[in-house]
């Protein structure tokens, strides 16, 4: 086999997610009354990027064969915090941003510490810590409100050179600054190895605990970046329980659509980003098709069902039934 074939095999999930996204987005924009305009793209990317950050966060944890059901709550908590802190002069705003990101990192680190050093199952740990984070968010913002540095917010949700959505650029920057270094670092590899086979990784002297811890902590950071963007996008903070849970569940859907294996060890945040964008486009499709309003939720559900079933087509190629159980 040639090198590029191995590369292709490795990227299959990501490419499939990319393909699904492109198809859906093309259907969307070609039916949009306004067409493929800078405004439409900006609107879509502002919305998509939020989930993309949360999905990236989820990816990190899922790679270690864990799951983080608190990402949505970290996202809310940091949103509420940002609505207090990211305001004022440049220095104050900068301090606020650092504090918000630090808080996210801390939340992720707490999850990681409990799961790794406390040896608890990630799913129930993060259900519990998610409740705690939500409680704190509610303390911070019993009612929706607060404000944010609007210049910064407009800059990051606006457009560069009148065409490129700034939020997409920010997403790209985060990929380059957080994801790329992590995935190529020793710790990142340790996270993958631990997710694929913790025992093997341990026996090979891989620093699995540090790798997993880094993954959880960075997941908190990425969720916080999402929370920050939510604040930029809405100018306020709100502790909305349902929407926190929705982001958590959506992030799982995005991760799976993005070809990341829930069994750990496989997939990339890039795939998850396209998974998130594709997932968001499902909602947008409602806008361009004239559905009876009451049928819209069903339509969304069915599209989601179809999208998640696409991967099953690979099944028809399986000639050895044991491959079902990998």
């Amino acid at each position: 086999m040639k090198d590029w074939r191995y590369w292709l095999a490795e990227q299959r999930g990501t490419l499939l997610a990319f393909g699904i996204f492109i198809v859906m987005f093309t259907i969307y924009t070609s039916n949009h009354p306004a067409g493929f305009t800078a405004n439409v793209v900006q609107t879509a990317s502002n919305k998509g990027v939020l989930l993309a950050f949360v999905a990236m966060a989820q990816t990190l944890v899922v790679i270690t064969a864990g799951i983080d059901l608190s990402v949505g709550m970290i996202f809310l908590l940091t949103n509420c915090l940002a609505s207090w802190l990211v305001i004022g002069t440049g220095i104050e705003t900068a301090f606020g941003v650092v504090a918000v990101l630090g808080t996210g990192l801390l939340c992720g680190a707490i999850n990681g510490a409990i799961v790794i050093y406390g040896r608890l199952q990630p799913i129930v740990t993060t259900i519990a810590t998610g409740a705690v984070y939500f409680g704190i968010a509610l303390l911070l913002r019993p009612f929706p409100g607060g404000s944010v540095n609007e210049d910064l917010a407009d800059a990051l949700t606006g457009r560069l050179f009148g065409v490129v959505p700034a939020s997409l650029v920010a997403l790209l920057a985060v990929v380059l600054v957080v994801w790329m270094p992590f995935s190529r670092s020793v710790l990142g590899r340790a996270a993958y190895a631990a997710g694929s086979s913790e025992m093997a990784a341990y026996m090979s002297g891989v620093p699995i605990r540090r790798g997993k811890f880094a993954a959880y902590a960075l997941a908190g950071l990425l969720a916080a970046i999402g929370g920050l963007f939510l604040t930029f996008f809405t100018y306020t903070g709100e502790a909305a329980y349902a929407s926190g849970n929705a982001y958590t569940l959506f992030s799982i859907a995005a991760v799976v659509l993005g070809g990341v294996s829930l069994f750990g060890g496989k997939g990339s945040a890039i795939g998850a980003i396209f998974g998130a964008l594709a997932f968001r486009t499902i909602g947008d499709l409602l806008f361009v098709f004239d559905f009876d309003p009451l049928w819209q939720p069903l339509f969304q559900g069915v599209i989601l069902l179809i999208a998640v079933s696409l991967g099953a087509f690979a099944l028809f190629r399986v000639r050895n039934r044991l491959e079902w159980f990998l």
């Binding site: 949009h32 306004a34 405004n39 879509a44 929706p144 306020t236 349902a242 309003p293 009451l294």
Partner: protein, 350 residues
């Protein structure tokens, strides 16, 4: 960008200003027919479904339909950014007016800016917007709390133990109602001991919370609940709690109980505004597009029914679902739907 003008507004009966200092808007008159959109958030409860159905029915009324080129509804779920994006999309697609049931009162600043620049009329109802730049069709939530508290004060002359079942924590609706209740009780000068539990506007949750409260803190001399009232009464029945005065919302199930057990002590004040407020919101949007003067904040009348005035077939419907909210008409605005015709409509259409 509307002109700020002096009142009174067109159809002052219907478009009642919220307060004495409420501003009046006059938008530049646009030629009809109009493209109007409804940007709903959450959809999966009866109130919202009833609301969407009412909106459709209203837009289909011949007089209204004549003014509309297009009426489009999108429900985006609980996610605020999705709703913001939907509104942005409506603006970009050239809709003339957008009616919103906002998932968050404060998050729409950027959207309001954009709508203003594009000359799009934005009307919020039910969950309204914290702004003076868009039209709000408003229910006096605090007034509702005051009403319930006054009802209890009237029926429990010497003060006593009250169970307050609250709605969804953190929403302005819940807070306003709660504040209205407490301020009024405190001002009464009587001694009240209030047990608060959270019912989340949901019968099941409210029922469970009530059952717990009765078991640990009961019995109570009076109850007030926002949403989930049917469940609250059910919990009282299950716990064999004596029937006591009750201030609650307008669910059909609740009113059925009120009518049935009034003689045994369940003296109810049932008040609120039904999902038909969406029709008022649409009506307001059209009026604004036609260049008529409208208040920035429209105050909706409360639909109040109090013991002993519960009339079968008018205020409650024994054969119908418990879940819908009675009081779906705003006669002053010429909006006269009954809830059953709304919820039954597609069946008849088939």
């Amino acid at each position: 960008e509307p002109e700020i003008v002096n009142g009174p507004s067109a159809e002052p009966e219907c478009f009642a200003p919220w307060a004495a200092d409420t501003q009046f808007f006059k938008f530049p008159k646009k030629e009809g027919p109009y493209r109007v959109a409804l940007a709903n958030g959450y959809i999966a409860n009866t109130w919202r479904i009833q609301m969407v159905q009412t909106a459709k029915a209203y837009a289909a009324q011949p007089a209204v339909a004549a003014k509309l080129k297009e009426f489009k509804v999108v429900s985006t779920g609980e996610d605020v950014p999705a709703q913001i994006s939907a509104i942005n999309n409506f603006i970009d697609s050239g809709y003339d007016a957008i009616v919103v049931n906002a998932q968050n009162p404060t998050a729409f600043g950027p959207v309001i800016k954009r709508a203003k620049e594009a000359g799009v009329v934005l009307v919020a109802f039910d969950n309204i917007l914290d702004t003076k730049d868009a039209i709000n069709v408003n229910v006096d939530q605090k007034g509702l709390g005051e009403l319930w508290a006054n009802w209890l004060i009237k029926h429990i002359p010497n003060g006593g133990k009250i169970l307050e079942v609250r709605g969804v924590a953190g929403t302005s609706v819940d807070t306003d109602r709660h504040n209205g209740i407490h301020e009024t009780l405190d001002a009464s000068g009587k001694k009240w001991e209030v047990t608060e539990v959270v019912g989340k506007w949901d019968d099941g949750v409210a029922q469970k919370a009530t059952a717990d409260a009765i078991a640990t803190n009961g019995p109570f001399d009076g109850v007030t609940g926002q949403g989930g009232d049917t469940g609250i009464v059910q919990a009282m029945i299950d716990a064999k709690h004596p029937f006591v005065p009750f201030g609650g919302e307008t669910e059909n199930g609740f009113r059925k109980f009120c009518a049935k057990f009034a003689a045994e002590g369940l003296k109810c004040s049932s008040a609120g505004t039904g999902p038909a407020q969406v029709a008022v919101a649409i009506k307001t949007a059209i009026a604004a597009l036609e260049g008529q003067v409208v208040p920035q904040a429209v105050k909706l009348p409360l639909a109040i029914v109090e013991d002993p005035n519960f009339k079968e077939g008018e205020d409650y419907f024994p054969d119908q679902s418990d879940n819908f909210f009675v009081g779906n008409s705003f006669p002053t605005c010429g909006i006269n739907f009954t809830a059953q015709e709304i919820m039954g409509q597609s069946k008849e259409n088939q």
